[in-house]
């Protein structure tokens, strides 16, 4: 019998994998993909809790998370293209002007 805990543990594992990727990778597009992985892990826990509690709200939240992810993809990847035009690179280390 699959319980809610199975899904929540899987979601936690995927989320920490995404965190690991965001912290270690240098390629901005790969970091973006890891963020998508983290968003999906959260979506999984939203839907499993929603179906466990018999309440629709969690799934509507996932709907809006997907909308935000699409807007984020459009603007974020456009930003990367603009970066690349300026610096011929999308390694995050090359965008450290604001770092102190």
């Amino acid at each position: 019998m699959i319980t809610i805990n199975h899904y929540l543990v899987l979601s936690a594992v995927l989320f920490s994998l995404g965190t690991f990727g965001v912290l270690t990778r240098k390629n901005a597009i790969v970091i973006f993909m890891c963020i998508e992985l983290m968003l999906n892990a959260v979506n999984l826990s939203f839907i499993s809790l929603s179906s466990h509690l018999g309440n629709m709200d969690g799934q509507i939240f996932v709907f809006f998370v997907m909308t935000v992810a699409a807007a984020e993809a459009a603007v974020g990847l456009a930003l990367m293209i603009a970066f690349f035009r300026n610096r011929e690179s999308i390694a995050v280390d090359d965008f450290s002007l604001l770092k102190w």
Partner: protein
């Protein structure tokens, strides 16, 4: 039977998630990410949310991943950014393990509670999942729904301004 299927899918999802994080070539990362999306769509079906599974495939695997692959091809990352190395793996591993363990303990110690509704698997089958989503989305979540359209409008304008050359 179903629990076996769950473990199989979970193994594939975690393995492909690991590939998203570790593969060297961005195209391989993107394909592994697609595998993870498909596995999650399977889980949504198992959780009595078939409409969510459909839009998971449509939006994530169909649209967002396509845009990512377009960007990879657009920037030609295979040759242009042949940069090796990564940030501190040790600290990232420690932090990721801490997050995973924290999640595990909270899940095992805690009790899942909240506002319970009356929606069951049988009800989803009888009424239809899309209808239940629609009932909730167009009555209780009316304002977020309209705000979502403004968010999309802003995304269109922003992306065109940023990406287009010398507007």
């Amino acid at each position: 039977m179903e629990i076996m299927y769950f473990y199989l899918l979970a193994a594939v999802a975690v393995a492909s998630g690991f590939m998203v994080v570790t593969c060297k070539s961005p195209v391989n990362n993107a394909i592994a990410l697609m595998m993870t999306f498909v596995c999650l769509a399977n889980f949504y079906v198992m959780l009595d949310a078939p409409f969510m599974a459909a839009i998971q495939i449509m939006v994530y695997a169909g649209a967002i991943l396509m845009l990512i692959i377009f960007t990879i091809m657009l920037l030609n990352l295979g040759t242009a950014v042949a940069r090796k190395g990564s940030h501190s793996v040790v600290w990232a591993t420690v932090l990721a393990l801490l997050i995973a363990m924290q999640g595990y303990f909270v899940i095992n110690r805690g009790e899942v509670s909240g506002i319970t509704g009356e929606i069951t698997g049988e009800m989803v089958k009888k009424v239809g999942h899309t209808e239940l989503i629609a009932k909730s989305l167009f009555t209780d979540f009316l304002l977020p729904f309209e705000i979502a359209s403004i968010l999309l409008l802003v995304a269109i304008v922003g992306a065109v301004i940023i990406a287009k050359k010398e507007v």
